[in-house]
């Protein structure tokens, strides 16, 4: 049923964009918790897009790591620090100008890339079992994988060091 998956794609893509927009520029609420919740929704709809590409592992890990752990900690920090609703700031003409130029440039690059891209005859999926993914990670992409792991370890050690009370 190709039509049905198309429909799902548009639904998830629309949700991702809508929730992403509401996360950064919600016209109804300036509450940081609301923004965080919309970010969670964005992440979950992106997981839906991954599922449509048959990347089940990626989808599950996306929800597990980002929606389930990282965003909960975000909420935790927002609530503990008791961040009040942000006030509406006055528009700064210079900032708006710079922002507009930056967005236009990025959009131009993206549109250009899309324009020149040749659509594949068959739909490319990130198909493959978790087993193949693991095998590729530990053979072809071993070095980047290990480097990333060390990076995460460094971050972890740094956090533990910083949070120790008797640090001079």
């Amino acid at each position: 049923m190709p039509e049905f998956t198309d429909l799902l794609f548009y639904a998830f893509a629309g949700l991702t964009l809508l929730c992403g927009f509401l996360c950064v520029a919600n016209p109804l609420s300036r509450n940081p918790v609301t923004s965080a919740m919309f970010l969670v929704l964005t992440i979950i709809s992106m997981a839906g897009l991954f599922v449509l590409l048959h990347a089940f592992f990626l989808a599950a890990v996306q929800v597990l790591v980002y929606a389930g752990a990282v965003m909960v900690l975000f909420l935790f920090v927002i609530m503990l620090l008791n961040i009040k609703e942000e006030e509406r700031r006055k528009m700064n003409i210079a900032a708006v100008g710079v922002g507009a130029v930056a967005v236009a440039t990025l959009a131009g690059i993206l549109v250009r890339a899309l324009w020149h891209a040749t659509p594949l005859a068959t739909t490319a999926t990130v198909e493959g079992s978790t087993r193949t993914l693991g095998r590729i990670l530990f053979t072809r992409y071993l070095l980047p994988f290990e480097v990333l792991s060390v990076l995460l370890l460094v971050a972890m050690v740094g956090v533990i060091l910083l949070s120790r009370k008797e640090l001079k």
Binding site: M1, G68, L75, M79, R131
Partner: protein
């Protein structure tokens, strides 16, 4: 049944899935209602009381022998409870954050039911292709953990929505507690999958049908998973998010009527889901040591479902029993147990299992 076989395979699949979802949902809901009754009865027995013994519909007393017997068992109590939850005044305090106050109970319930989707609660029913699992996902366990990790939002948002001190503390406690124990839980399962070699829960059961139950091969993993399951479902001895003596009622202090009932429902549905997970991962699912092959007929299929449900009930009773036998942990003890005992233990377990798999099994 002939017209079923003649249908288009897609339509057949959708039809069977809808039926399975409906049955699983209905059975779980009635399980929730009656596990509350079991909870009250077991607690009564442990504390040398009688428990609910007099709720009955008007006609029950006229049925000889059976009527009074069922009344004394408390069979009718859950119906009265459910009716009361629906009919009581639904009070919304003036100071709450309205939107979150309304959606938090819903968010608390949904994940509990979603996790049930990947659990194989039987082998096959009728024809061999009709597997007794709603969604036979290749990443089954990862899906479960993903959904379980969303469960914390219901509690955190409830604490935030109430906009008062005790619920807020409950919400904060639960987010820290659930994240901590999710790590231990996830790591304890890794060693199981090292042995099985697949993330699909049906494959886990297949492995156990021929290689023996995993609880005997991975007792440490099972123990960590069990304790983490208590922490994840916020049950005693880890019920700090709602500890009555410190936080009044924790995150659901401000809730009443059906909204409160939804949190209640979520907790019991979570218990059912984690019982089902433990049965699937460590106790062979629908298999018994002498029944390992998928059923051929209708009767065998029903028998397998019966075996699964019986094992699940045993775990539910364990959940309830433990609640009335142990005192609550202190919060620092809880964190210490999670981070400094269980996570290193689970890591060591993974290492040992990996070494054994690498050197002995091939």
């Amino acid at each position: 049944m002939d017209f079923l076989q003649n249908l288009d395979p897609t339509v057949q699949f959708i039809l069977f899935s809808v039926v399975k979802i409906g049955v699983v949902f209905g059975v779980t809901m009635s399980f929730v209602a009656y596990s509350v009754l079991v909870e009250r009865k077991v607690s009564a027995w442990i504390q040398d009381r009688v428990g609910p013994n007099r709720t009955a519909p008007p006609m029950a007393q006229f049925v000889p022998i059976l009527g009074p017997f069922l009344t004394r068992l408390g069979i009718f109590q859950p119906m009265a409870d459910g009716l009361k939850f629906l009919l009581k005044e639904d009070f919304t305090p003036s100071y709450v954050r309205k939107v979150y106050f309304w959606i938090a109970p819903a968010i608390a319930v949904i994940p509990a039911f979603l996790t049930l989707a990947v659990i194989p609660f039987g082998s096959t029913l009728g024809n061999p292709g009709n597997k007794m699992v709603i969604a036979d996902l290749d990443v089954g366990i990862l899906y479960t953990f993903g959904i379980v990790s969303l469960g914390v939002y219901g509690i955190v948002l409830a604490g935030y929505a109430a906009n008062s001190k005790y619920p807020f503390l409950g919400g904060i406690r639960s987010s820290a507690q659930m994240i901590s124990y999710e790590i231990a839980m996830g790591m304890s399962v890794v060693s199981v999958f090292l042995l099985v070699g697949d993330l699909n829960l049906s494959k886990v059961i297949e492995y156990q049908a021929h290689g023996g139950w995993l609880v005997f091969k991975q007792p440490l993993a099972f123990f960590i998973f069990l304790v983490a399951a208590f922490a994840e479902t916020n049950r005693l001895p880890f019920d700090l998010p709602e500890s009555e003596s410190e936080l009044v009622g924790g995150y659901h202090t401000e809730y009443s009527s059906m909204k409160f009932a939804l949190f209640f429902l979520g907790e019991y549905a979570n218990m059912i889901a984690s019982s089902a997970m433990m049965v699937t991962l460590f106790f062979g699912g629908w298999t018994l040591p002498f029944i390992g092959d998928p059923a051929s007929g209708l009767l065998g299929g029903l028998l397998h479902i019966g075996i699964f449900v019986a094992k699940m009930c045993a775990f539910m009773v364990l959940f309830i029993w433990v609640r009335w036998m142990f005192p609550r942990f202190r919060y620092d003890q809880l964190m210490d147990l999670g981070w400094r005992r269980f996570i290193p233990l689970a890591l060591a377990n993974i290492l040992v299992t990996a070494l054994v798999v690498a050197f002995v099994n091939r």
